[in-house]
Protein backbone atom coordinates (compact mmCIF):
# COMPACT_ATOMS: atom_id res chain seq x y z
CA UNK A 1 0.00 0.00 0.00
CA UNK A 2 3.03 2.25 0.37
CA UNK A 3 3.20 2.28 -3.41
CA UNK A 4 -0.34 3.56 -3.69
CA UNK A 5 0.55 6.44 -1.37
CA UNK A 6 3.59 7.31 -3.49
CA UNK A 7 1.38 7.14 -6.54
CA UNK A 8 -1.09 9.55 -4.99
CA UNK A 9 1.68 11.97 -4.05
CA UNK A 10 3.08 11.86 -7.59
CA UNK A 11 -0.41 12.32 -9.00
CA UNK A 12 -1.11 15.40 -6.88
CA UNK A 13 2.35 16.81 -7.58
CA UNK A 14 1.78 16.50 -11.34
CA UNK A 15 -1.46 18.42 -11.10
CA UNK A 16 -0.03 21.41 -9.24
CA UNK A 17 -0.55 24.43 -11.49
CA UNK A 18 3.13 25.48 -11.66
CA UNK A 19 4.14 21.90 -12.48
CA UNK A 20 1.58 21.52 -15.25
CA UNK A 21 2.47 24.94 -16.63
CA UNK A 22 6.14 24.03 -16.81
CA UNK A 23 5.57 20.53 -18.18
CA UNK A 24 3.20 21.76 -20.87
CA UNK A 25 5.35 24.65 -22.01
CA UNK A 26 7.63 22.25 -23.87
CA UNK A 27 6.02 19.86 -26.31
CA UNK A 28 8.40 16.94 -25.80
CA UNK A 29 8.10 17.16 -22.02
CA UNK A 30 4.34 17.38 -22.29
CA UNK A 31 4.08 14.17 -24.26
CA UNK A 32 7.15 12.19 -23.25
CA UNK A 33 7.36 13.10 -19.59
CA UNK A 34 4.12 14.47 -18.16
CA UNK A 35 1.82 11.96 -19.83
CA UNK A 36 3.93 8.86 -19.00
CA UNK A 37 4.29 10.09 -15.41
CA UNK A 38 0.51 10.22 -15.12
CA UNK A 39 0.36 6.63 -16.36
CA UNK A 40 3.03 5.67 -13.81
CA UNK A 41 1.11 7.41 -11.03
CA UNK A 42 -1.90 5.30 -11.98
CA UNK A 43 0.21 2.13 -12.03
CA UNK A 44 1.50 2.87 -8.55
CA UNK A 45 -2.03 3.40 -7.27
CA UNK A 46 -3.29 0.13 -8.79
CA UNK A 47 -2.90 -2.08 -5.64
CA UNK A 48 -5.25 0.26 -3.79
CA UNK A 49 -7.99 -0.20 -6.39
CA UNK A 50 -7.37 -3.93 -6.66
CA UNK A 51 -7.93 -4.27 -2.94
CA UNK A 52 -10.90 -1.95 -2.89
CA UNK A 53 -12.68 -3.48 -5.88
CA UNK A 54 -11.37 -7.05 -6.23
CA UNK A 55 -14.48 -8.18 -8.12
CA UNK A 56 -14.27 -5.52 -10.74
CA UNK A 57 -10.83 -6.66 -11.85
CA UNK A 58 -11.28 -10.40 -11.51
CA UNK A 59 -14.64 -10.46 -13.22
CA UNK A 60 -14.24 -7.93 -15.98
CA UNK A 61 -10.55 -8.21 -16.67
CA UNK A 62 -9.82 -11.86 -15.91
CA UNK A 63 -7.64 -12.43 -19.00
CA UNK A 64 -6.26 -8.89 -19.17
CA UNK A 65 -7.52 -8.26 -22.70
CA UNK A 66 -10.15 -5.57 -21.95
CA UNK A 67 -7.66 -3.69 -19.78
CA UNK A 68 -4.87 -3.69 -22.32
CA UNK A 69 -7.23 -2.56 -25.09
CA UNK A 70 -8.41 0.29 -22.89
CA UNK A 71 -4.77 1.21 -22.25
CA UNK A 72 -3.99 1.24 -25.98
CA UNK A 73 -7.06 3.38 -26.75
CA UNK A 74 -6.14 6.02 -24.19
CA UNK A 75 -2.50 6.10 -25.28
CA UNK A 76 -3.49 6.44 -28.93
CA UNK A 77 -5.96 9.17 -28.12
CA UNK A 78 -3.34 11.31 -26.41
CA UNK A 79 -1.01 10.95 -29.36
CA UNK A 80 -3.33 12.89 -31.66
CA UNK A 81 -1.93 16.37 -32.29
CA UNK A 82 -5.35 17.81 -31.61
CA UNK A 83 -5.77 16.46 -28.10
CA UNK A 84 -2.40 17.91 -27.06
CA UNK A 85 -3.48 21.32 -28.28
CA UNK A 86 -6.90 21.12 -26.69
CA UNK A 87 -5.48 20.05 -23.35
CA UNK A 88 -3.86 23.48 -23.28
CA UNK A 89 -6.88 25.50 -24.35
CA UNK A 90 -9.96 23.61 -23.13
CA UNK A 91 -10.11 22.96 -19.36
CA UNK A 92 -12.45 19.96 -19.75
CA UNK A 93 -9.93 18.22 -22.00
CA UNK A 94 -7.16 18.94 -19.51
CA UNK A 95 -9.24 17.39 -16.72
CA UNK A 96 -9.95 14.38 -18.91
CA UNK A 97 -6.19 14.01 -19.35
CA UNK A 98 -5.65 14.03 -15.60
CA UNK A 99 -8.31 11.35 -15.16
CA UNK A 100 -7.83 9.14 -18.20
CA UNK A 101 -4.07 8.67 -18.19
CA UNK A 102 -3.70 7.35 -14.62
CA UNK A 103 -7.04 5.59 -14.19
CA UNK A 104 -7.92 4.42 -17.69
CA UNK A 105 -4.37 3.68 -18.86
CA UNK A 106 -2.09 3.21 -15.84
CA UNK A 107 -4.41 1.11 -13.70
CA UNK A 108 -5.61 -1.26 -16.45
CA UNK A 109 -2.06 -1.66 -17.76
CA UNK A 110 -0.73 -2.90 -14.44
CA UNK A 111 -3.74 -5.06 -13.75
CA UNK A 112 -3.66 -6.62 -17.21
CA UNK A 113 0.05 -7.12 -17.74
CA UNK A 114 0.50 -10.07 -15.38
CA UNK A 115 -2.58 -11.78 -16.76
CA UNK A 116 -1.60 -11.54 -20.41
CA UNK A 117 -0.19 -14.47 -22.35
CA UNK A 118 3.26 -14.03 -23.85
CA UNK A 119 1.74 -14.04 -27.31
CA UNK A 120 -0.44 -11.02 -26.48
CA UNK A 121 2.46 -9.24 -24.79
CA UNK A 122 4.49 -9.68 -27.96
CA UNK A 123 1.68 -8.20 -30.02
CA UNK A 124 1.59 -5.20 -27.67
CA UNK A 125 5.37 -4.68 -27.90
CA UNK A 126 5.26 -4.81 -31.68
CA UNK A 127 2.20 -2.60 -32.08
CA UNK A 128 3.52 -0.02 -29.61
CA UNK A 129 6.84 0.26 -31.41
CA UNK A 130 5.02 0.40 -34.76
CA UNK A 131 2.67 3.14 -33.52
CA UNK A 132 5.52 5.13 -31.99
CA UNK A 133 7.49 4.68 -35.21
CA UNK A 134 4.56 6.03 -37.21
CA UNK A 135 4.18 8.97 -34.82
CA UNK A 136 7.91 9.68 -35.16
CA UNK A 137 7.54 9.81 -38.92
CA UNK A 138 4.43 12.00 -38.65
CA UNK A 139 5.97 14.55 -36.30
CA UNK A 140 9.38 14.68 -37.98
CA UNK A 141 8.31 14.62 -41.62
CA UNK A 142 5.26 16.87 -41.45
CA UNK A 143 5.98 20.17 -43.20
CA UNK A 144 3.01 21.73 -41.41
CA UNK A 145 2.66 22.86 -37.87
CA UNK A 146 0.50 20.14 -36.33
CA UNK A 147 -0.14 21.82 -33.01
CA UNK A 148 -1.02 25.49 -33.01
CA UNK A 149 0.48 25.91 -29.57
CA UNK A 150 3.89 24.47 -30.39
CA UNK A 151 6.60 25.41 -32.86
CA UNK A 152 7.69 23.15 -35.71
CA UNK A 153 11.13 22.77 -34.10
CA UNK A 154 9.49 21.34 -30.98
CA UNK A 155 7.42 19.06 -33.14
CA UNK A 156 10.59 17.59 -34.66
CA UNK A 157 12.14 17.14 -31.21
CA UNK A 158 9.03 15.27 -30.17
CA UNK A 159 9.32 13.08 -33.26
CA UNK A 160 12.89 12.10 -32.34
CA UNK A 161 11.65 11.26 -28.87
CA UNK A 162 9.26 8.83 -30.52
CA UNK A 163 12.12 7.27 -32.51
CA UNK A 164 13.95 6.67 -29.25
CA UNK A 165 10.87 5.17 -27.56
CA UNK A 166 10.02 2.93 -30.50
CA UNK A 167 13.61 1.67 -30.63
CA UNK A 168 13.72 1.00 -26.87
CA UNK A 169 10.50 -0.97 -26.88
CA UNK A 170 11.60 -2.96 -29.89
CA UNK A 171 15.00 -3.79 -28.40
CA UNK A 172 13.31 -4.83 -25.17
CA UNK A 173 10.97 -7.05 -27.15
CA UNK A 174 13.85 -8.72 -29.00
CA UNK A 175 15.70 -9.47 -25.78
CA UNK A 176 12.61 -11.14 -24.29
CA UNK A 177 12.79 -13.62 -27.15
CA UNK A 178 16.33 -14.70 -26.26
CA UNK A 179 16.57 -14.20 -22.53
CA UNK A 180 14.52 -16.27 -20.14
CA UNK A 181 14.00 -14.08 -17.09
CA UNK A 182 13.09 -16.99 -14.81
CA UNK A 183 16.69 -18.22 -15.05
CA UNK A 184 17.84 -15.16 -13.18
CA UNK A 185 15.27 -15.05 -10.43
Amino acid sequence: MKQAAYGLVLYIFLMLPPVTALAESIMAIHMHMQMPLFVIAGMLMTPFFQKKFPNLFSKWNSNGIPGIILFMIIVLYWMLPRTMDEALTIPAVEIFKFVSLPFLAGVPLRDSWKKLETRVKNIIYISLSAIFGFMAWLYIASPNQLCNNYLIVEQKTLGWGFVFLAACIFIYFIQTLFIDETEYE
Binding site: N61, S62, L70, R82, Q145, C147
Partner: protein, 210 residues
Protein backbone atom coordinates in the same frame (compact mmCIF):
# COMPACT_ATOMS: atom_id res chain seq x y z
CA UNK B 1 -17.43 -19.78 -18.96
CA UNK B 2 -19.02 -16.84 -17.14
CA UNK B 3 -15.66 -15.14 -16.97
CA UNK B 4 -15.21 -15.56 -20.69
CA UNK B 5 -18.55 -13.92 -21.27
CA UNK B 6 -17.84 -10.95 -19.03
CA UNK B 7 -14.46 -10.57 -20.66
CA UNK B 8 -16.05 -10.42 -24.07
CA UNK B 9 -18.62 -7.94 -22.85
CA UNK B 10 -15.87 -5.82 -21.28
CA UNK B 11 -13.93 -5.84 -24.56
CA UNK B 12 -17.00 -4.67 -26.46
CA UNK B 13 -17.67 -1.92 -23.96
CA UNK B 14 -14.07 -0.75 -24.09
CA UNK B 15 -14.05 -0.71 -27.89
CA UNK B 16 -17.35 1.14 -28.00
CA UNK B 17 -15.94 3.66 -25.51
CA UNK B 18 -12.82 4.08 -27.65
CA UNK B 19 -14.88 4.58 -30.77
CA UNK B 20 -17.04 7.23 -29.08
CA UNK B 21 -13.98 8.94 -27.62
CA UNK B 22 -12.27 9.19 -30.99
CA UNK B 23 -15.52 10.13 -32.71
CA UNK B 24 -16.12 13.05 -30.37
CA UNK B 25 -12.46 14.01 -30.13
CA UNK B 26 -12.05 14.33 -33.89
CA UNK B 27 -15.49 15.73 -34.83
CA UNK B 28 -16.55 12.46 -36.38
CA UNK B 29 -13.09 11.47 -37.72
CA UNK B 30 -12.89 14.77 -39.58
CA UNK B 31 -10.30 16.82 -37.77
CA UNK B 32 -7.17 15.34 -36.22
CA UNK B 33 -5.48 18.68 -35.68
CA UNK B 34 -6.81 21.84 -34.11
CA UNK B 35 -6.08 23.69 -37.34
CA UNK B 36 -8.46 21.52 -39.39
CA UNK B 37 -11.07 21.76 -36.64
CA UNK B 38 -10.63 25.53 -36.63
CA UNK B 39 -11.15 25.86 -40.38
CA UNK B 40 -14.18 23.53 -40.33
CA UNK B 41 -15.68 25.57 -37.53
CA UNK B 42 -14.98 28.93 -39.20
CA UNK B 43 -16.67 27.80 -42.40
CA UNK B 44 -19.69 26.77 -40.38
CA UNK B 45 -19.89 29.86 -38.19
CA UNK B 46 -19.02 32.49 -40.80
CA UNK B 47 -17.89 35.25 -38.45
CA UNK B 48 -18.25 38.87 -39.48
CA UNK B 49 -15.08 40.88 -40.01
CA UNK B 50 -14.91 43.06 -36.88
CA UNK B 51 -14.88 46.81 -37.01
CA UNK B 52 -11.20 47.75 -37.21
CA UNK B 53 -9.23 50.72 -38.43
CA UNK B 54 -6.59 49.99 -41.03
CA UNK B 55 -3.58 52.05 -41.97
CA UNK B 56 -2.17 51.05 -45.35
CA UNK B 57 1.19 51.44 -47.05
CA UNK B 58 0.07 54.79 -48.52
CA UNK B 59 -0.62 56.07 -45.01
CA UNK B 60 -4.35 56.14 -45.66
CA UNK B 61 -6.46 55.41 -42.61
CA UNK B 62 -9.92 53.90 -43.03
CA UNK B 63 -12.27 51.39 -41.42
CA UNK B 64 -12.65 47.90 -42.90
CA UNK B 65 -16.15 48.85 -44.01
CA UNK B 66 -14.51 50.91 -46.76
CA UNK B 67 -14.43 47.63 -48.70
CA UNK B 68 -18.18 47.13 -48.42
CA UNK B 69 -19.69 45.83 -51.63
CA UNK B 70 -16.54 44.00 -52.66
CA UNK B 71 -15.06 40.64 -51.87
CA UNK B 72 -11.85 40.90 -49.91
CA UNK B 73 -9.12 38.27 -50.11
CA UNK B 74 -7.08 38.46 -46.92
CA UNK B 75 -3.80 37.12 -45.58
CA UNK B 76 -2.19 37.75 -42.20
CA UNK B 77 1.54 38.44 -42.26
CA UNK B 78 4.48 40.31 -40.75
CA UNK B 79 7.23 41.66 -42.95
CA UNK B 80 10.23 40.40 -40.96
CA UNK B 81 9.00 36.86 -41.51
CA UNK B 82 11.54 34.82 -43.42
CA UNK B 83 9.65 31.68 -44.33
CA UNK B 84 5.90 31.12 -44.38
CA UNK B 85 4.82 34.70 -45.10
CA UNK B 86 7.02 34.90 -48.19
CA UNK B 87 5.46 31.74 -49.56
CA UNK B 88 2.02 32.89 -48.51
CA UNK B 89 2.41 36.23 -50.29
CA UNK B 90 4.05 34.67 -53.37
CA UNK B 91 1.04 32.37 -53.65
CA UNK B 92 -1.33 35.26 -53.06
CA UNK B 93 0.40 37.09 -55.93
CA UNK B 94 -0.25 34.11 -58.19
CA UNK B 95 -3.92 34.02 -57.26
CA UNK B 96 -4.05 37.77 -57.87
CA UNK B 97 -2.50 37.36 -61.33
CA UNK B 98 -4.78 34.45 -62.25
CA UNK B 99 -7.99 36.33 -61.59
CA UNK B 100 -9.42 38.07 -64.67
CA UNK B 101 -8.61 41.79 -64.72
CA UNK B 102 -12.27 42.79 -64.98
CA UNK B 103 -12.89 41.65 -61.42
CA UNK B 104 -9.80 43.11 -59.81
CA UNK B 105 -10.57 46.26 -57.88
CA UNK B 106 -14.19 46.18 -59.05
CA UNK B 107 -15.52 43.06 -57.36
CA UNK B 108 -12.55 41.93 -55.33
CA UNK B 109 -9.77 43.57 -53.41
CA UNK B 110 -6.71 41.90 -51.95
CA UNK B 111 -5.53 42.82 -48.50
CA UNK B 112 -2.51 41.70 -46.51
CA UNK B 113 -2.84 42.54 -42.84
CA UNK B 114 0.22 42.79 -40.64
CA UNK B 115 -0.04 41.53 -37.06
CA UNK B 116 3.21 43.26 -36.15
CA UNK B 117 2.05 46.91 -36.15
CA UNK B 118 5.07 48.15 -34.24
CA UNK B 119 7.62 47.31 -36.90
CA UNK B 120 5.36 47.29 -39.95
CA UNK B 121 4.79 51.00 -40.42
CA UNK B 122 3.54 52.33 -43.77
CA UNK B 123 7.09 52.84 -45.10
CA UNK B 124 8.01 49.22 -44.37
CA UNK B 125 4.80 47.95 -45.92
CA UNK B 126 5.38 50.15 -48.95
CA UNK B 127 8.77 48.53 -49.47
CA UNK B 128 7.37 45.06 -48.81
CA UNK B 129 4.60 45.32 -51.38
CA UNK B 130 7.13 45.79 -54.19
CA UNK B 131 8.49 42.29 -53.65
CA UNK B 132 5.16 40.87 -54.71
CA UNK B 133 4.20 43.43 -57.39
CA UNK B 134 1.30 44.56 -55.28
CA UNK B 135 0.02 47.89 -56.61
CA UNK B 136 -0.98 49.18 -53.16
CA UNK B 137 -4.44 49.88 -54.51
CA UNK B 138 -6.24 46.71 -55.57
CA UNK B 139 -3.86 44.73 -53.39
CA UNK B 140 -3.21 46.67 -50.25
CA UNK B 141 -0.94 46.03 -47.33
CA UNK B 142 -2.06 47.45 -44.03
CA UNK B 143 -1.55 47.32 -40.31
CA UNK B 144 -4.03 47.64 -37.47
CA UNK B 145 -2.53 49.96 -34.92
CA UNK B 146 -4.99 49.40 -32.12
CA UNK B 147 -3.79 46.22 -30.37
CA UNK B 148 -7.25 45.54 -28.93
CA UNK B 149 -8.86 45.68 -32.37
CA UNK B 150 -6.09 43.53 -33.82
CA UNK B 151 -6.39 40.88 -31.12
CA UNK B 152 -10.14 40.80 -31.53
CA UNK B 153 -9.82 40.24 -35.28
CA UNK B 154 -7.18 37.51 -34.86
CA UNK B 155 -9.39 35.85 -32.31
CA UNK B 156 -12.53 35.99 -34.46
CA UNK B 157 -10.71 34.57 -37.47
CA UNK B 158 -8.82 32.02 -35.37
CA UNK B 159 -5.40 33.31 -36.34
CA UNK B 160 -2.91 32.15 -33.72
CA UNK B 161 0.23 34.22 -33.39
CA UNK B 162 2.92 33.12 -30.93
CA UNK B 163 5.94 35.41 -30.54
CA UNK B 164 9.24 33.58 -30.07
CA UNK B 165 12.33 34.96 -28.37
CA UNK B 166 14.02 36.18 -31.54
CA UNK B 167 11.44 38.76 -32.56
CA UNK B 168 9.72 36.30 -34.89
CA UNK B 169 6.25 34.83 -34.73
CA UNK B 170 4.96 31.32 -35.20
CA UNK B 171 1.57 31.59 -36.85
CA UNK B 172 -0.94 29.68 -38.90
CA UNK B 173 -1.59 30.76 -42.48
CA UNK B 174 -4.46 30.61 -44.92
CA UNK B 175 -6.33 32.64 -47.52
CA UNK B 176 -9.46 34.21 -46.07
CA UNK B 177 -12.27 35.38 -48.33
CA UNK B 178 -14.71 37.91 -46.92
CA UNK B 179 -17.88 38.61 -48.87
CA UNK B 180 -19.31 42.06 -49.79
CA UNK B 181 -21.21 42.15 -46.48
CA UNK B 182 -18.07 41.58 -44.44
CA UNK B 183 -18.83 37.93 -43.68
CA UNK B 184 -16.08 35.35 -43.81
CA UNK B 185 -17.15 32.84 -46.43
CA UNK B 186 -14.05 30.80 -47.28
CA UNK B 187 -10.83 29.77 -45.61
CA UNK B 188 -8.53 28.25 -48.21
CA UNK B 189 -5.29 26.30 -48.10
CA UNK B 190 -2.62 28.77 -49.18
CA UNK B 191 -0.48 26.04 -50.74
CA UNK B 192 -3.24 25.05 -53.18
CA UNK B 193 -2.99 28.03 -55.51
CA UNK B 194 -5.10 26.60 -58.31
CA UNK B 195 -7.88 25.38 -56.06
CA UNK B 196 -8.04 28.78 -54.37
CA UNK B 197 -8.06 30.61 -57.71
CA UNK B 198 -10.85 28.45 -59.09
CA UNK B 199 -12.89 28.88 -55.97
CA UNK B 200 -12.58 32.67 -56.01
CA UNK B 201 -13.37 32.91 -59.72
CA UNK B 202 -16.43 30.69 -59.39
CA UNK B 203 -17.71 32.81 -56.51
CA UNK B 204 -17.16 36.01 -58.51
CA UNK B 205 -18.88 34.50 -61.54
CA UNK B 206 -21.99 33.49 -59.62
CA UNK B 207 -22.10 36.95 -58.08
CA UNK B 208 -21.91 38.49 -61.54
CA UNK B 209 -24.70 36.23 -62.85
CA UNK B 210 -27.09 37.32 -60.18
Amino acid sequence: MIKKKSNRLAVSIVILFGFTLFFIGTDGFQAYTVETARINKLMKENPVFPDVTLEDSKERVYPFTAFEGKYVMITFIYTECTDVCLELEMNMAQVYNNIPDKYIGEDIVFLSISFDPERDDPATLEKYRFYFNSDGETWRMARIQDQVELDHLLDEFGVIVIPDNNGNFQHNSAFYLVDPNGILVEVMDYTEIEAATEKVISILETEEGE
